[in-house]
């Protein structure tokens, strides 16, 4: 059980165009990939992956709707309600990891890289974004010691193309013990199928509409598994059993929709 706790905002940091990190006064420990439910009093509550764990923990978010707009308007000193951490995070397997992050998915991959390097693993990071101004946390991962490979859809930074293009080249030219991914689900599905061909252990963090956060309301169901409790990080073995992986999602009413 995780009771709601009030936390005071310490600071808001601009990460990129329409992407911010909110740090809090206080401590919350979360595994890379685990999330908290953040309640903006009187507005909304939504799941956010913890991008900085421990003392002065934080979340990183892209401003995409009314909820995140309200979050970005909040000032240091103001308070939000937080419950969690919830869900299952990433594990580090082997000595050499390939991490693939798409867009704001980087906020989930960054703490994973911290943990992997702390555990003595070598990490290659593929960081894909639509354009240079949307790249986040590059410096953080470089200082942590990861080998960073950038790709942008428009070629404004790094290689022009998709994150999956560089991933495929890296997998061809080097040996990895495991592959981890977070970002658009179509990208994840692409990286998963490459990893599967090479029989590499795979993990990815998925996103669905989450209401309860505690595995009972079924809003975030994917083929009987629940993103909030069984995930958000799923292994390749589990993803292989999910028909809706990369294909379908539920609307807040429970209507089945194709994945965007």
């Amino acid at each position: 059980m995780s009771l709601l706790r009030p936390f005071t905002i310490a600071e808001q940091i601009d990460e990129a165009a329409s992407c911010k990190t909110m740090r809090f006064i206080g401590t919350l420990h979360a595994d890379p990939g685990q999330f908290v439910m953040i309640w903006i009093p009187g507005k909304d509550e939504f799941p956010m992956s913890v991008s900085y764990t421990g003392e002065a923990f934080g979340v990183t978010y892209k401003i995409i709707g009314e909820g995140t707009q309200s979050l970005s308007a909040m000032k240091p000193g103001e308070r939000v309600g937080i419950r969690g951490p919830y869900g299952r995070g990433f594990e580090v397997h082997g000595r050499r990891m390939l991490a693939v992050a798409g867009g704001a998915g980087m906020a989930v991959i960054a703490p994973l890289i911290d943990m992997a390097i702390e555990k003595g693993a070598e990490v290659d990071l593929v960081l894909g974004a639509r354009t240079e101004s949307e790249i986040i946390m590059r410096g953080r991962c470089e200082s942590a010691g990861a080998e960073v490979h950038i790709s942008t859809d428009d070629g404004t930074a790094g290689a022009k193309g998709l994150a999956t293009d560089i991933t495929s080249q890296l997998l061809e030219n080097a040996t990895f013990d495991s592959v981890c991914a977070c970002g658009p689900e179509k990208m994840i599905a692409g990286v998963y199928s490459m990893s599967k061909k090479l029989d590499l252990p795979f993990q990815a963090s998925l996103e669905r509409f989450i209401k309860c956060g505690i595995g009972i309301c079924d809003s975030c169901a994917i083929d009987g598994m629940h993103v909030c409790k069984d995930g958000p990080v799923f292994s390749g073995e589990v993803l292989a059993t999910l028909d809706d992986f990369g294909k379908g999602r539920l609307s807040p009413s429970g209507r089945r929709l194709p994945l965007d």
Partner: protein
């Protein structure tokens, strides 16, 4: 019938544990998972004629002794939900369709559509405490309850169970009204109307302010309600509220329930809770020389206050 088997309104259940409405039942595959984990029957999410998003988040709040929720009856509409029922039916246990609506006609129409989709019985949601114009708002009045049961019985040929609200001065009157209206059984209780406030943020936590309390906190209320209803009606009773162990289930059985529903306990015990309750029941029966569940039903009624 021997062992854990029970009969309710003509439905034969392999054991008396039933998935409660609103938990792991938005999708057919989740319901199927619960059936495979050992539940004796499944109740669907409450569905209506039209698609509803439900209340905005926060729609749940965890409290020390239970859980508050104000989901607000989210559902894709009965027509879209039919596919989920079909999937759940693969579990080969009875699937009970939960219906809500604004009035007797609408509820009966939803019930008929749920039956057409394959539901083996209907549970009338006359008790949701957190959706304006639905549930408890129309199910707190005995005349309404009777009328809704009559209208539904006139439209469907499968068993109809009325899920009653404890947020009333007399749940027995509602149970009697359901029986008078032709209901084949009653389900008691739905959640208790409740609120949680965050003092630092000076605000009720749920976006709907008011929600329904479930979990261990409400069990003793549920047991009392079932006990009272058992003395007032002849139709079968399904007990619900705070069941997470065999002992909890036994309290309901001894009070007069033929079966129990389990929901919130899945939060802490996962879907294994169904098999755990069943094995605990078997153990209790063998230690205390009961050969069937039916022998225990209403067992606590020999005492007079």
């Amino acid at each position: 019938m021997t062992g854990l088997e029970v009969e309710i309104a003509g439905m034969r259940l392999r054991n008396p544990t039933i998935l409660a409405s609103g938990v792991l039942d938005e999708t057919g595959k989740s319901m199927l998972k619960v059936a495979n984990a050992g539940a004796g029957a499944l109740v669907s999410k409450s569905v209506g004629l039209y698609e509803r998003q439900g209340h905005p988040n926060p729609c749940v709040a965890e409290v020390e002794c239970g859980l508050l929720n104000a989901m607000g009856l989210p559902n894709p509409g009965v027509e879209a939900y039919a596919a989920e029922i079909a999937e759940a039916k693969k579990g080969e246990v009875p699937v009970i369709g939960s219906a809500f609506g604004v009035d007797a006609d609408e509820i009966a129409e939803v019930a008929a559509l749920l039956c057409a989709a394959g539901a083996d019985a209907i549970e009338l949601n006359l008790s949701c405490p957190h959706a304006e114009g639905y549930g408890a708002e129309i199910g707190s009045d005995p005349d309404n309850v009777r009328h809704i049961c009559e209208s539904t019985k006139a439209k469907v040929s499968r068993p109809v169970l009325a899920k009653l609200t404890p947020n009333t001065s007399s749940i027995t009157e509602l149970a009697i009204a359901a029986q008078d209206g032709g209901a084949d059984g009653v389900v008691a209780i739905n959640t208790l109307k409740a609120m949680s406030i965050c003092p630092e943020l000076r605000m009720p936590v749920l976006s709907n302010r008011v929600g329904g309390l479930s979990g261990p906190a409400v069990r003793s209320v549920g047991v009392r309600c079932v006990f009272e209803i058992f003395e007032a009606v002849d139709i079968p009773i399904i007990g619900v509220g705070g069941v997470s162990t065999a002992r909890d289930a036994l309290e309901y059985l001894m009070a007069g329930a033929r079966a129990v529903q389990i929901g919130t306990a899945i939060r802490s015990r996962g879907t294994d809770v169904f098999a755990e309750v069943c094995s605990g029941l078997t153990e209790f029966m063998s230690k205390n020389d009961y050969r069937s569940i039916q022998e225990m039903v209403g067992g606590a009624h020999h005492v007079t206050a």
